[in-house]
């Protein structure tokens, strides 16, 4: 499988957008401009980018509490995203959802989700829906390593496999459920091995390698569209920041500095950049230009969010029911 320069360049742009967006949130959160909880995706950009790179606009994703990367990769616009994080009326959810609930039906984003494991059944519902409506849409369901301990994971894999639903189960294994390491949560080494119990393929990929993630996802998408059923893809990766902004010392109470540093050296963006330059798929100038333009877009998003109004109090009473 050969990837075009355009595709590779778009991966770089998506990963860089996620990274710079999140780095800006770090700053805004520290300044008290972004309220609530911010669960950042820095270090895991290759997963969302690789998976969503294999999807069409009409396909669906369900996301998690750590969802900024997923929705950016699936096509969410920066201005309404940033405004939502500020709690402004111009945000994706009119300021009523916030960081953990960004959704965009037009882009097939069925919502980030504040409940660990909460997105899995919804994803199979979307998959089932496509089957009932006889479309070729697939649904990619992102969840963390420890969500696989939840009953919804097992119920969903079982139902999806039983009914051969077009779903990709994307396990983002960053090694920790908040502060508890995977080893303390489950006796198994690879979450993907759980796929065996439900008679579906389960693959493990380097979650910091965007091309590898993309290739696995593309294969799973083909299988899903062909009506052959779901796949589990486990992407081994790492979150650089704490569980959320404010987690002391970026999770220093349960992770060593050495461990964090080790993973930073495996930065998915730097690795990808080196490979692109080495294989001459892009020039340094081109990449720098992408970075500069992304910075500019984020500056604009922050300005847009700051200048937007908060929702009126009357807005509180709207949208409870249709």
């Amino acid at each position: 499988m050969r990837l075009t320069k355009e595709k590779l360049s778009s991966f770089y742009q998506t990963m860089q957008t996620i990274r710079l967006f999140e780095e800006r949130i770090v700053d805004l959160y520290a300044r008290g401009q972004v309220p609530g909880l911010a669960h950042l995706y820095i270090g895991e950009e290759a997963v969302a980018t690789g998976v969503c790179g294999a999807l069409n606009k009409a396909d669906y994703i369900t996301s998690t509490h750590r969802g900024h990367g997923h929705v950016i990769a699936k096509g969410a616009a920066l201005n309404p995203m940033m405004a939502e994080l500020f709690g402004k009326v111009t945000g994706y959810c009119k300021g009523k959802g916030g960081s953990m609930h960004i959704a965009d039906m037009d882009e097939g984003i069925l919502g980030a989700n504040g409940i660990a494991g909460g997105g899995l059944p919804i994803a199979i519902g979307a998959g089932w829906s496509a089957k009932w409506r006889k479309t070729t849409q697939v649904t990619a369901c992102f969840f963390g390593d420890d969500a696989s301990s939840n009953g919804t994971f097992h119920e969903s894999l079982n139902l999806a496999s039983l009914h051969k639903l077009p779903v990709l189960f994307i396990c983002e294994n960053n090694g920790y459920g908040i502060s508890v390491s995977q080893a303390k949560c489950t006796p198994i080494k690879d979450i993907a091995s759980r796929a065996v119990a439900y008679d579906m393929p389960g693959v493990v990929v380097d979650g910091n390698n965007v091309v590898e993630v993309y290739k696995a996802a593309e294969k799973a998408v083909k299988r899903a569209r062909a009506g052959e059923g779901p796949t589990v893809i486990e992407c081994k990766t790492y979150r650089w920041r704490g569980h959320h902004e404010g987690d002391p010392n970026q999770g220093g109470r349960y992770r060593t500095k050495e461990e964090i540093q080790e993973w930073k050296e495996k930065c998915p963006i730097l690795q990808f950049e080196k490979a692109l330059l080495k294989e001459k798929k892009a020039t340094k100038t081109q990449l720098d230009e992408i970075t500069r333009a992304t910075e500019e877009a984020i500056d604009e998003a922050v300005l847009f969010a700051k200048e937007s109004d908060y929702p009126s109090i009357e807005e509180m009473y709207k949208d409870v029911l249709v």
């Binding site: 829906s129 009932w132 949208d319």
Partner: protein
Amino acid sequence: MREITYCDALNEALRECMTEDENVVLLGEDIGSYGGIFQVTKGLQDEFGAERIVDVPIAEAGFVGAAVGAALTGMRPVVEIMFIDFTTVCMDMIINQAAKMRYMFGGKGSVPMVLRTNIGAGRGTAAQHSQSFHSIFAHIPGLVVVAPSGPYEAKGLLAEAIKNDNPVIFVEHKRLYMTKGEVPEESYRIPFGKAEIKRAGEDITIVATHALVGASLEAAEIAAKDGISVEVIDPRTLAPLDKDTILTSVKKTGRLIVADEGHKTCGFASEITAIAAEEAIEYLKAPVIRNASPDVPVPFSPPLEKAFMFGKDEILESIKKVIAYA
């Protein structure tokens, strides 16, 4: 008019809606060839096929969540939870997902699904198959909660529930499944948020739900012989609630009894009582009485279960108590 059972009325509504709209699908345990534990889906799988009438594994969170996802992406799924007791294992999907999506997505997306289930003691099924905690759902903004009291209501409200764009908790009642009543053959819808005055009266207002509507009407008939005029109101939907009809009646009669099978503490009966206290206190001529289930789990032993339950006689007692306040 012909008379059919509550169960058949529900079946008829499902059949009509499935015929009319192919996006209506049914998910539930044993709803296929078995026809559902209470036979509500009897014959539907033969008619519409196993793709649309799906027997699911015992995985309530999984298939209720699947209904949420399907509803969010264009389907109109109807799920059956065998007993309301089992909704506890899929509460996240109901309360955190279905009820919240439209609001937390800022008015984008909708979840047009129906969750059918049932309440009611009296069948010797003890503490995990007899509960009546429908009020819990009425506590949650973003859900419609329906309480059909008879066959006519069952058909018209279920048709409305399926066509409504909100997540609907459709709470049936075990003891009513076999009761018969007049039901039109043609399809019809009963609007949500509109109570029905089942019997007009001047002295006492009874707000009753489910099987207690019938019990209240019987009690009202007996009270009438003593010259006591009782008005019986069936709210039909607990959320949205038709407060106007209830308050208008309470302001007229000045005496309120609420009859609901939920537990007494923090239940639907308490809610109606609180509304009267908050918005019609100066019209009250007597204490408000809640006829509700005792605050204990439903016991198994027949004499205990009998003592747990209440109906016409207890409502009559309440009528006597409030009418003593002239």
